[in-house]
């Protein structure tokens, strides 16, 4: 892997949450935001004392304040003091209390973590758990009467993230799940939870942040005999290698550039789509690979797809891409991301699936125009390739937050 790739990681932040059985509101709060001004990604998980609305108020206050204070560069110790002095006091218990785990990721991939009374986070790197050194500091509570007996200790740690890193953190609903049951009289525990996380990552090395968080929470719920005894929340931050997609469409204006096109195609390290009959023929000729058309599921509107070794998908060009733009447009209007039912099997629907599944998309567009398409007898509006690709680029960038580059040949 090159250094350039090491530098650019995509940060996938996701969480999954279940409320304590019988509660209509949650007492754990998970917040995440990307600071547009400086590019930092700040995430907080807070667990309020008790459960239900009361805990929800405590954790929401804590998470919101922590997030705002850290985003405004307030020293965390000061932030923690303010939070603890602000939290309302529980009538029954006479204390005010909410835990938090705050993760502050800088654009240069430095990760700073502050933890207060949540179970310790789990950092998974290449199938093993890494434990950065934690420093601690105690927080002074102004009002000793409403403070918990125990001294408040905040743990700080930081490390430089690497692509593939997963940071997992959770409320005590996870570690205490199953408590009082025969197999786990003292609860699932941090060690077993850690083992479970490692196993899940080993089993599916590409598991998304969302899926991993969900699996952990559902496992904890299962240990609680499917009736969660506490709010169970898990957050996962996955420093994913960006998923690259190449769409090669159209023959180069100058046939001398065919070899350059083939070079770009062969050296690309992500998923590859060839969209265009002539384009496929050029690659087939230059690479000596056969292109076979698939005649199953013929769609009356969209030409059939083909197969070629080394390409994940081969489709026709203009009509298919035109439909791709339409699907993306519809999707952006109704906020849905899935292609419509009738496009599921055709080339356009397949391209859309690939697009939505990728982070960085590169179009290589050959600008030679097929004169046959300009024939006024053509029954449908056949657009110029460049225009369609530009439309798709705009849709992907604005409505689907993808990084799109176009290169013309």
């Amino acid at each position: 892997m090159s250094d350039a790739q090491t530098q650019s990681s995509f940060i996938e932040v996701a969480h999954y949450q279940l409320y304590k059985s019988g509660q209509g509101a949650g007492g754990d709060t998970f917040l995440s935001q990307k600071n547009d001004s400086d590019g930092r990604v700040i995430t907080v998980l807070s667990d309020g004392l008790g459960s239900g609305i009361k805990a929800g108020v405590l954790s929401t206050l804590t998470a919101t304040m922590a997030m705002k204070f850290v985003a405004a560069d307030m020293p965390i110790q000061r932030a923690a003091e303010i939070i603890m002095s602000t939290l309302p006091v529980c009538k029954e218990r006479g204390i005010s209390y909410a835990t938090f785990t705050l993760v502050d990721i800088e654009p240069n991939s430095t990760v700073k973590i502050m933890e207060y009374d949540n179970p310790g986070y789990v950092l998974v790197r290449q199938d093993t758990v890494i434990e950065p050194i934690k420093n601690c500091a105690s927080i002074e509570r102004k009002n000793r009467k409403t403070a918990p007996q125990r001294e408040a200790v905040v743990y700080y740690s930081d490390y430089r993230s690497r692509p593939g890193d997963r940071l997992v953190f959770f409320s005590d609903g996870v570690t205490q799940s199953g408590m009082g049951t025969k197999p786990y009289p003292l609860g699932w525990g941090a060690v077993r939870a850690q083992e479970f996380i490692l196993e899940a990552v080993r089993e599916s090395p590409e598991i998304s942040a969302r899926e991993l968080a969900k699996r952990i929470v559902l496992k904890a719920q299962q240990l609680d005999c499917y009736r969660a005894k506490d709010d169970i929340t898990c957050g996962v931050i996955y420093f994913r290698r960006p998923r690259d997609l190449l769409i090669m469409t159209g023959p180069p204006i100058n046939p001398d550039h065919d070899t350059e096109m083939v070079r770009v195609f062969s050296s690309f390290s992500g998923k590859k789509i060839v969209s265009g009959g002539t384009t496929a023929n050029i690659l087939s000729r230059e690479l000596g690979r056969k292109v076979t058309l698939n005649l199953r599921n013929i769609d009356p509107n969209i030409p059939p797809v083909s197969q070629m070794d080394g390409a994940d998908l081969v489709t026709e060009g203009i009509i298919t891409l035109g439909r791709v733009a339409e699907i993306l447009e519809q999707g952006s209007r109704i906020g849905a991301t899935a292609s419509t039912e009738r496009d599921r099997e055709n080339g356009a629907g397949k391209i859309v699936e690939f697009l939505l599944d990728s982070d960085r998309i590169t179009f290589v567009v050959g600008t030679r125009i097929n004169d046959a398409h300009q024939d006024p007898n053509m029954p449908v509006e056949l657009e110029i390739r460049r225009n369609i690709v530009k439309r798709i680029q705009m849709l992907l960038a604005e409505h689907y937050l993808k990084e799109v580059t176009i290169r013309y040949l």
Binding site: A280, P304, E316, M378, L382
Partner: protein, 85 residues
């Protein structure tokens, strides 16, 4: 005759919009006497549309013989011609 008649339908952009989409369904429209006699294949672009001398899209080849401006009927006629030659 035991050899199947090979029908290749171009599915490039120009051909598809000019009617190849119908010809790809040829097997479903085959009269009884021709059923099982042909081998239908699609091609992503046969390249004929780049030269006006080849006539108009869509292009189909039947046992290598080019048909331009092809329709289900003209392709069928050609198949019949070969089948009963």
């Amino acid at each position: 005759m035991s050899d199947k008649i090979k029908v290749v339908v171009c599915s490039g952009t120009a051909c598809f919009v000019m009617g190849a989409s119908d010809i790809l369904l040829l097997e479903e429209n085959l009269p009884e006497d021709l059923q099982g006699r042909i081998e239908l294949e699609g091609a992503n672009c046969l390249g004929y549309c780049k030269d006006g001398a080849n006539g108009k899209a869509p292009y189909v080849t039947v046992n290598g013989e080019l048909i331009s401006g092809a329709t289900v009927l003209s392709v069928m006629n050609k198949i019949r011609e070969i089948a009963y030659a």
